[in-house]
Symmetry: C2
Subunit: 227 residues, 2 copies
DNA sequence: AGCCGGCTTTGACCCAGGTCAACTCGGCGT
DNA sequence: ACGCCGAGTTGACCTGGGTCAAAGCCGGCT
């Protein structure tokens, strides 16, 4: 763990900071530390007091909950350029609601939550930005709950596949799963076995072709028709 | 629908307003209108552009989503004194993510979202309050997702029962369901039939006694042991 | 090259809970 | 009082997807 320097591009990508003036930005940067995580290394655990929030620079992080019987549910998968754990800044009790673990070797930048909270009081703009973000997340969670309760496993998986289509691609979109299937399965609240079976079923129906971690969507309209 | 006057007690209960000064409060109150809803009457539907948020004065409101096959999932049940739909103030597209329908005859006070948003820019305190609230909701949703994915129907129902214990009661807590069982079932993502069966099962195990809408928790520790 | 360990897949089986249909019950209006 | 209606209950049945166990499969390491 060492003090981190961010490139201007990286900084620009952190939309949360775009409302800050020079001094404020400087204050945040002074709290920035780089943390290298090995695969399966844990960044924080649910319930821990939350003193930092994070920007993922490279690698992949999963945010997950554990039931007391040890079952794991991946709530969200974080990709490079995304920040996470900023929204708990305002918890009455400041502790993480989920755990975070590196899926692959990752580098995260940690920022001090207290400093950020102080800046928030000064910057109306950042405040608004954070609220918009939280609002978006809230809506995402509601959508997720609908998905879980109103739709079955195949539906959820197909939605996921369609979401992964790279923008602009029309013909035979190919999806490269950069994440272990078992993690995606958990994110979708599906057992790995079932995940595999559904993929098999869709392939048999000639809707997709599966090649290890590459999935080709042979018939996007056919997939849409399943929804 | 007529202009509404709120008692000081009611105003005090709206924690969102407690950061506002006299002028600001006055501005909000001027946008306050009272709406009477008959049972099953719809207040707003998912997707509608959101110009107001609400305070429930009496009755009960359910917030729910519909699948395109017409299945309904109750996301939240609102009780008197609670505000709802404030958190979407900051949606990039300002439309309601769920629908709202009166369960029983209800009176809601509507407030203007635009005026509130403007006040938010002036009142740091209210800003912070709203953020704290959104943060809490976000956490609640995550807990809900865990419940749905990590726990079964009996677990969810027992959790619900234990949550309903009136504060301070130790001996044989009685729970009066002020809400139709079918609505509670949907809130817990359980079918009415299953809901009824689980209640029957728990009664047979002498953990509870069911008398129409009154449930007596005969063995709280026994119930806790199921979790 | 050969082995090991972690994913992934496949098969067999099972069960929580959903679906469908019939029946009960309590409240309400006439 | 009666009949109706919607909510709740109960029974019979079914199935999506979870569980368990046994292979495959691939990539890294020695």
């Amino acid at each position: 763990m060492k003090h981190a320097t961010l490139t201007p591009e990286e900084l620009h990508a952190v939309y949360l900071f775009s409302g800050l003036n020079e001094n404020q930005l400087q204050a945040m940067l002074e709290t920035a530390y780089s943390i290298e995580l090995a695969p399966r290394e844990i960044l924080f655990e649910a319930g821990q007091s939350a003193g930092h929030f994070y920007l993922l620079r490279s690698g992949q992080i999963k945010l997950f909950s554990l039931s007391d019987s040890g079952d794991e549910k991946v709530v969200e998968i974080i990709y490079p350029g995304e920040t996470f754990a900023e929204a708990i800044t305002f918890m009455t009790q400041h502790n993480y609601p989920v755990s975070a673990e590196a899926i692959s070797a990752s580098e995260v930048i940690s920022f001090d939550m207290n400093v950020f909270r102080r800046l928030l009081e000064e910057s109306r703009e950042t405040c608004m930005r954070l609220m918009a973000d939280m609002s978006r997340r809230l809506r995402k969670r509601i959508a997720e709950i609908n998905n879980l309760t109103l739709h079955n496993a195949t539906y959820r998986l197909v939605v996921y596949l369609l979401e992964q289509i790279p923008p602009g691609v029309v013909e035979l979109p190919e999806i490269h799963l950069g994440t272990p299937k078992s993690v995606i399965a958990s994110r979708l609240s599906i057992q790995p076995e079932t995940f595999s079976r559904i993929l098999g079923k869709l392939a048999r129906q000639k809707l997709i072709r599966v090649h290890q971690n590459t999935i080709t969507l042979l018939d996007v309209d056919g997939l849409r028709a399943l929804l």
